[in-house]
Homo-oligomer: 367 residues x 3
């Protein structure tokens, strides 16, 4: 029957998204030299918890005969809501306890559910690859939390807040899996058929163009034309984020490539110039630079969506697209601020400054 | 034609199971600091050999016109039979020569084939995710072999019988791939349709619940509430094992979650308290703790299957389910004991005690 | 509609090939102790660039209404053309600048397109898994480039031209993903149905047999019967290369196994005995030994194809198969020589001898 075909047709993108969540995000964060256990381990914990909480939250919005029903489609959506938490996790990586992170998960997924309902059902905005409701939302939520948890003592960087050779290679496992499967992420809930095909190809082209600009800019801004591994691990993915909203729109290969190319530039420049300023001037210590990978490219994606709808590339209203972007940012900043305040309460076991970015506070580590 | 559709429909779960066998099991065992080459390398050798031997064994049970015919379905089954060998490999990891392991492969797959035929064809028992015929069988077979190969000199643990920071991260690659694709393992041979859908969702819920209990118990039993990487690498997967027999039964999300939750507890407690006792009191030196990941959760899965069939969640007979569990354990213990005795013969190149857990006895290693 | 079904049916092999290109090739080359960033990083850069260039080149050969049209089928083909570049990259790994490699990419994909058109359209030869047009072509192209870029100062091996323990484990990630997904590579463009099924099973059997012979020969030729990680990382894959041309032919499981078995032997012996001779006597310094993994097994595949067509295992002409092999080798050697001469021009930033095999010349590396 139809339900079964559906299961099968959704099977592959479901797994691809699953791989992005657990391997992609998990290993991307292993770049820190002494925080690999927490990166991949807490990623697993938070994601496994978030999947369940996400299914419950969705179920409450869509009760059937008073019951929560489960479907493959809802499981993909639960993976999606999990992604927001993992993006925010990147902003506070190394500076929070597991209990704080579980609290963040509960609150963030709840607020995500409200904003998603508003954007998709009330505003009727397009956001198939979720540039706005996942990437921008997750990034600014995490940045607001990071602002609330500001640690003055970490202004002069911490000795463990950096990578070693092999930790950077572990992180590349995450990068490459994210890069490869991003077309599935952006097409997973696209309408089957031409729309889904476009979502795959647009994302593919955006990512390919983004790699080129990320490498070029990294080489341009670094000393002696060298490449910086942080840029390669992250900015090469910004094209996937930025093309998300437009992924199933008829923007053409060149449209997609322009979006990706610009995203790679913005993201790399952000890592080089903006992240240090945010830390020193605004008190926002963004461990993984999620502002550069998810925040700015997410906004770029939202704006591209406004323009594309205005140009008639998809049914919809440019005003509603704009409202969706504003709503996502607003919920993220307000929600993140409140969540950060709650996380700051003194009884959640937040690690002291000197134990930040160090697995040995939460794990049995043999040195 | 139907055969081709079949190829395609089975394509994805086939590959997922393949990834579990070669990446999952292979990297899960790389946690030992000086035994990574053997873990992933011998895993590849044994699996490639076992696939072929498994196809021949299956073929002999199901001759068509006197010929062995190959199909995608039989290739999945060959991957399954391979899994039993890799589970047993975990029990004797670091203490056996490649030749000993090849002998174990030949014997174990042969005995597996007999037990599988008995359970599936004669007893007609349900075991879609193979809690009994793969996990419990493979674990107790391996433990029986380990008992036969007992090394008194290793009672006080060997200096190489432990992990280092990056070897634990390599192992997490295995853990996460196993965790992600376990729903495919448990659903690969389920009846297409609702049964397969249930096998996917039940496994997904069981695994998600299992992660939570494994983390909770690990933190409870460890010093200062810390987490132990061994528990996270292994016990988070016990939910996949334990829900195997019931995976395609109508046990509901909560039924699946309870099974996974209990499995996570049992498995973590087993690593903490039971493995040392087995080693010191019974002479069973279980390198990877397969008793905790596959043995006890496999029995739990068998018992859950008996209960579920008794409650009418699936056609079948509770008595036959019980007989299937007993048969699997019996064949494993007797078969493993005999196999262990054969492996103990003095001309298979078993490594001396001081070279255990050390790649350099079988590999050219540059230190 | 048909196009959409097509999208879906091609989805899984597409992604499998994608994983081989980005994870498989990328991590396979991380075996060098100080060249991991470049291996996986430049692999990503070259592949992302090559995909786009490959689509343009294909598009020019197959203009539709004066336009380049994109399809999933063409995207697979672009991945395929990318593979040739990554094979050649292996031959010159550690001795070329990113700019040199981009020039090689542009030229090699262009020449690949000409040869592929000749082989497939003009000669009408069979080469479904591309033993000739990708593997042999890419290898001999790279070897010709390496000959042109010969560095006498590296005759006595460079201190960084070797592996360390964990770099070899990273490389095994590449090996295992390549091994697992090779059946998809060889079947991706096979005719849907029985042909595709045969391409999957033949590749599976060839690879399984190849593992056994590679391990056996490695142990036979090494000191004290030890295994060499270089052989295991590479020669275990030669069966996938060698069965490529015949993959969709009715050669039977034993035919496939014989091809794989022989490929494993040739490849391992090549690493042990031939590579040193090529370097010392012919001035061909083949960093990854692509001659052993892709070159000789590719020729073996071409010859097996000639024999199989002569035996009537597939429609076609043995003479045309022979011409296809000769064409692939000819274009590779001539094209590679010209490309190597262009790459030798003094303004592409080729690294000096003492900085070969060292990430720190192109990457910000914290030691």
């Amino acid at each position: 029957p139809a339900a079964v075909d559906n299961l099968f047709k959704l099977h592959t993108p479901t797994y691809d998204v699953h791989v992005m969540i657990f391997i992609g995000f998990g290993f991307l964060m292993t770049f820190l030299k002494r925080y690999g256990f927490s990166s991949v381990g807490l990623n697993l914990l938070l994601a496994a918890f978030a999947l369940q909480w996400g299914l419950i939250m969705q179920g409450l919005w869509h009760l059937e005969d008073g019951k929560i029903k489960v479907s493959i489609f809802k499981m993909i959506n639960a993976d999606f809501s999990t992604a927001t938490v993992l993006i925010s996790f990147g902003a506070v990586l190394g500076k929070t306890s597991p209990v704080q992170l579980l609290i963040m998960t509960i609150l963030e997924i709840t607020i995500f559910g409200i904003n998603e309902h508003l954007v998709a059902e009330i505003l009727g905005a397009n956001d198939v690859g979720a540039s706005m409701i996942i990437h921008a939302f997750g990034a600014y939520f995490g940045l607001a939390v990071a602002r609330m948890l500001y640690r003055p003592a970490l202004r002069n960087s911490h000795e463990n807040d950096g990578s070693v050779y092999h930790s950077d290679l572990f992180a590349m496992i995450g990068t490459v899996f994210l890069w490869m499967f991003w077309p599935s992420f952006n097409s997973a809930i696209a309408e089957s058929g031409t729309d889904q095909l476009m979502a795959v190809t647009n994302t593919y082209f955006s990512l390919a163009a983004c790699v080129l600009s990320a490498y070029a800019v990294s080489s341009l801004v670094e000393h002696k034309g060298k490449l910086d591994m942080v840029h390669i691990q992250n900015a090469t993915l910004a094209g996937g984020v930025a093309v998300g909203t437009c992924a199933d729109m008829d923007i053409g290969p060149f449209g997609a490539m322009i979006i990706g190319f610009v995203a790679g530039i913005i993201s790399t420049l952000g890592f080089k110039f903006l992240t240090p300023i945010l830390a020193s001037n605004l008190g926002i210590q963004d461990t993984c630079g999620v502002h550069n990978l998810h925040g700015m490219p997410g906004i770029l994606g939202g704006i591209a969506g406004i323009v594309a709808v205005a140009l008639g590339k998809k049914n919809g209203s440019a005003a509603m697209q704009g409202a969706a972007l504003a709503s996502s940012l607003g919920f993220a900043l307000v929600g993140g601020t409140i969540t950060g305040l709650i996380m700051k309460l003194p009884f959640w076991g937040q690690p002291p400054d000197q134990n930040c970015f160090d697995d040995s506070i939460y794990w049995e580590v043999i040195i």
